[in-house]
């Protein structure tokens, strides 16, 4: 019975996507388990009203609607024309105009169950178990959640006496407990899975996090969680959670739709033959697809503009003196564009972990970070060793003194009764500090700077040779070069990871590098630079036909996405011969940073007045240190596309920080394996991020975390909205909107690739994850063989030529007006 119960739990929670802790926020597609289904069957969009408003403003045009319905139902192209009144309507235009004039989408809004006493109690116990107070840990915690809960539940004052009595003699294991509770509630074996599924749906945030934690930490499992939920229902005499019956609205028949549509297009009601013909055409596009046709049209408008923008053929600049490799993160696009104003600088896009997946422990750290994409497991541990032991000793001593002070303060805050004494003695000091931080946010930054200056500096090297064999290091370097198409070498190559700085922001890691597991990218950049500078690695690369000139030096750096400053890491490794080039680069970077901060500020809430930027770059950067600031930066807001190809496609084009840019040159990738790696890893991560933003925007209540202003932290695990309830998942309101105005345009990722179409097709066909994403319309794919070829769109029947924007002549709203 025990294993059957566990199998039932696993089946009931199969579609739950794990939720990473906030300390290493990983953007995920919350509906990732449904990627084997069509997007239109599994997902949701904005309301039809929101799309109609966009239609009125021209954000969606008739051309977009026609393209959308043709993409979904290619048969419409050959479905003929119909004469209605004095106009002949091609089938696709008729289907498109129906979207504007009538509402048949017929999908009821989904609802989420209201929390009850069991949900609140379980949330309280799970929070106490996963985030134990250091002095008040639950008894028997070391034996797992079920043991810890059964030891205390009988004393829970929130439970009535009768319920507490029932909880006195519970089975020893969670499996037995769940089986007993199901039996007491007379749940038939055939209904067990459904009951467990409905119980899991009541707190999707906790369930998703427990699923992550069971696999990564192992101190909790979903069987224990569900055993508590069902046992409490039995003890309290509450009904079992039921499958919510969604109200179904009857869809109109094709005939009724035709009869409704024709009068909106002509005063002549039309003959019965005309109505029948219109009905046959409309039947090709059933009502449940209507709102998704709007969504596709909304995206089509942007995609066409993007394809037009990247189309012009551009030649490659002459040999640069600096090459900068930045993360594919859309925020890097702005920095790359401004840096390239200097013709001596060439930029590349590559996944921000630079192809070096590591578990990293900094010299003085207590723990480690998994600085790698969530798609893989950490297998190589890297740390750093100081170059000068005396220097390191002084550094450590200074940190220990500061740590001891912080620990003393923390003990004063948490030990019983001590907070009262602390408030009496030091309360005035903290009050003054709080006032200072509030009125002069820059003071936080100044204090931090003071700490850094008074802490003896330390120089370290990353232990890359201990983590990877020479063969592995050479393989990583070769893979990186082939993936980003690095076929020429400037004297200075900067590998710039990225991280974000903000104060009092529980979602800070959501602003760090997704490819580095929600961590800043400095460690990976340092590790990658060490590998590329390694002479034995270079010798192997030369033997493989990838020689790196001796005069080329790789430097690690980190791009701060709030200040847009780039900091050079490990400056002690920089050879004298390259010092001047680095200095010149930093000067160019400072100019680029100011321009980019000002550019970004046009979208930052509160930074503009009457459309004009009212804050200086310095004031805008101060947002990083303001503990009341809920918009330190806008992260990846607006992300909508990914371009895989050489930089010549996009150099000089303002992509408005909306595009993931991965460099790629087919000629550097003879067997296509680099493209396969890009499509199965960076593209998948970009898609996760894109869908996290998409769903957090279309339904904040269901897939978003709500407003930051009422969040309460559960350690570093996550947040609750208020003091109880479910663990919040997804992005907070302030990541996607200002009040009720969306900052993010929820669009599925438009992927553009410049590579041989047969190579792309082969990669898609042999990878199920890509087949699901492209065939089931979770993202779109447009590609061309090379810079001089036509674009092709991947659709239901394979590649079809993508009509050049403007080819369809009705790019206006005349039909709908």
């Amino acid at each position: 019975m025990s294993l059957e119960i566990r199998a039932a739990v696993a089946r009931a929670t199969r579609t739950v996507i794990p939720l990473w802790p906030l300390s290493s926020f990983i953007a995920v597609n919350p509906l990732g388990a449904h990627e084997s289904e069509d997007f239109a069957m599994a997902a949701a969009t904005r309301s039809r009203g929101a799309f109609l408003a966009d239609y009125e403003t021209g954000r969606i045009t008739d051309t977009d609607l026609v393209a959308a319905v043709l993409h979904r139902v290619p048969e419409l192209a050959d479905a003929g024309d119909v004469a209605i009144g004095d106009r002949v309507w091609p089938a696709a235009e008729l289907v498109a105009i129906e979207l504007v004039h009538t509402d048949h989408h017929g999908r009821p809004p989904s609802s989420t169950p209201e929390p009850d006493l069991v949900d609140e109690l379980v949330s309280k116990w799970i929070a106490a178990y996963l985030d134990p107070h250091p002095l008040w840990e639950m008894p028997d915690r070391e034996h797992g959640l079920w043991a810890a809960w059964t030891a205390l539940a009988r004393y829970d004052p929130h439970l009535p006496g009768a319920a507490r009595k029932l909880l006195r003699n519970l089975p020893r294991t969670a499996d037995e407990g769940l089986a007993q509770a199901l039996a007491k509630l007379s749940v038939e074996e055939s209904k067990t899975e459904m009951v467990l599924q409905e119980a899991a749906k009541r707190s999707p945030g906790w369930v998703a996090h427990i699923k992550w934690r069971a696999d990564h930490v192992g101190d909790i499992d979903l069987t224990s969680y569900l055993a508590i939920c069902i046992t409490l229902r039995w003890a309290l005499g509450l009904p079992l959670p039921q499958s919510a019956t969604q109200p179904t609205s009857e869809s109109a028949t094709a005939w009724e739709r035709a009869a409704t549509l024709i009068p909106t297009l002509s005063e002549d009601p039309g003959s019965s033959e005309t109505v029948a013909r219109v009905a046959r055409i409309l039947a090709l596009h059933p009502p449940q697809l209507h709102v998704f046709a709007w969504q596709t049209a909304y995206e089509e408008h942007y995609r066409r503009q993007l394809v037009t923008a990247v189309s012009p053929a551009d030649t490659r600049a002459s040999n640069p003196s600096v090459q900068v490799v930045m993360c594919i993160d859309p925020r890097s696009e702005g920095m790359r564009r401004h840096l390239e104003a200097d013709p001596e600088i060439e930029t590349y896009g590559f996944a921000g972990f630079f192809g070096v997946p590591i578990r990293f422990a900094s010299y003085q750290a207590r723990g480690t970070i998994d600085a790698l994409p969530a798609l893989i497991t950490a297998r190589h541990s890297v740390t750093e060793v100081p170059n000068d032991l005396r220097q390191a000793r002084r550094h450590t001593t200074a940190l220990r003194v500061r740590d001891a002070f912080a620990a003393g303060m923390h003990a004063g805050e948490t030990a019983p009764a001590a907070p009262f004494a602390l408030a009496e003695t030091l309360g005035w000091f903290f009050g003054a500090t709080a006032l200072l931080r509030t009125l002069w946010p820059g003071s936080t930054h100044a204090i931090g700077r003071f700490h850094r200056r008074t802490t003896p500096a330390i120089t370290t090297d990353v232990t890359i040779a201990a983590a990877f064999s020479l063969g592995e290091r050479a393989a990583l370097a070769e893979t990186g070069m082939r993936m980003m198409g690095l076929d020429r070498f400037a004297p200075l190559i900067i590998l710039a990871g990225h991280g974000s700085t903000s104060t009092n922001n529980m979602y800070q890691s959501a602003l760090d590098c997704g490819a580095c597991g929600g961590n800043p990218g400095a460690a990976n950049a340092r590790a990658a630079a060490a590998i590329f500078n390694d002479p034995p690695v270079r010798r192997i690369l030369a033997d493989r036909g990838l020689p790196i000139p001796e005069t080329t030096f790789f430097v690690a750096a980190e791009h701060n996405t709030v200040s847009d400053r780039v900091e050079i890491l490990d400056p002690h490794l920089l050879p004298e011969s390259h010092a001047l080039t680095v200095k010149e680069f930093l000067e160019a970077q400072r100019t680029a940073a100011d321009l980019l901060v000002t550019e970004r500020s046009r979208h930052l809430p509160g930074a503009t007045r009457h459309g004009k930027v009212r804050h200086s770059p310095a004031r805008l950067r101060q947002r990083a240190h303001d503990w009341a600031e809920v918009y330190p930066e806008l992260g990846l807001v607006g992300n909508a596309a990914m371009i895989i190809g050489p930089r010549e496609m996009t150099r000089g084009v303002n992509l408005e920080r909306r595009v993931f840019l991965h460099s790629y040159r087919p000629e550097c990738d003879p067997d296509g394996s680099a493209l396969e790696t890009i499509m199965t890893a960076p593209l998948v991560v970009a898609q996760w991020i894109n869908h996290q933003y998409y769903f957090s925007t279309v339904d904040q209540n269901r897939w978003g975390a709500g407003t930051k202003t009422i969040h309460n932290a559960i350690g570093s695990i996550g947040v609750l909205s208020g003091h109880t309830g479910d663990l919040q998942r997804g992005l907070p309101l302030q990541s996607v909107a200002v009040g009720d105005r969306d900052l993010h345009e929820p669009m599925r990722l438009s992927v553009l690739i410049q590579a041989p179409l047969d190579r792309i097709g082969t990669i898609v066909s042999r990878n199920q994850v890509l087949r699901h994403l492209f065939d089931n319309n979770w993202i779109t794919l447009t590609a061309r063989n090379d810079q001089h070829s036509l674009w092709y769109r991947y659709g239901t029947y394979g590649w079809i030529p993508d009509p050049h924007p403007g080819e369809n002549s009705q790019d206006n709203n005349e039909q709908g007006a």
Partner: protein, 105 residues
């Protein structure tokens, strides 16, 4: 030569993202261990699978192999069968022989 001892070998191929509950069932069934092979390639009901991907273990297939005494096997077989019902994944069960039975008991 000491005779070999008869055991039951169970091989399960599932998407990498679905492997954790299978591993949990194997350990809960009393198996003393298992072997996991990620990046399994082949062709099945859901089309071709390219095998090992450089930076993605989550979306590839994983094969889990365990060996346990015949008397413990039916429970695990039943639970895995239940888990794989209507979902992606296959299970192969075969008799096998081991030289050190205490490793698997």
């Amino acid at each position: 030569m000491e005779p070999l001892t008869k055991m039951t070998r169970i091989e399960i191929v599932v998407p990498g993202r679905d492997a954790p509950p299978v591993r949990e069932l194997i350990t809960s069934a009393g198996a003393t261990g298992y072997t996991a092979v990620s990046g399994v390639s082949g062709i099945g009901h859901h089309g071709p699978h390219s095998g090992a991907l450089l930076f993605n273990e989550y979306d590839t297939l994983t094969m889990l192999i365990t060996v346990l005494p015949p008397e413990k096997a039916p429970t695990l077989i039943g639970a895995v069968r239940q888990l794989l019902e209507d979902g992606p994944g296959v299970m192969f069960v075969a008799d096998t022989y081991v030289s050190r039975p205490e490793y698997f008991a």
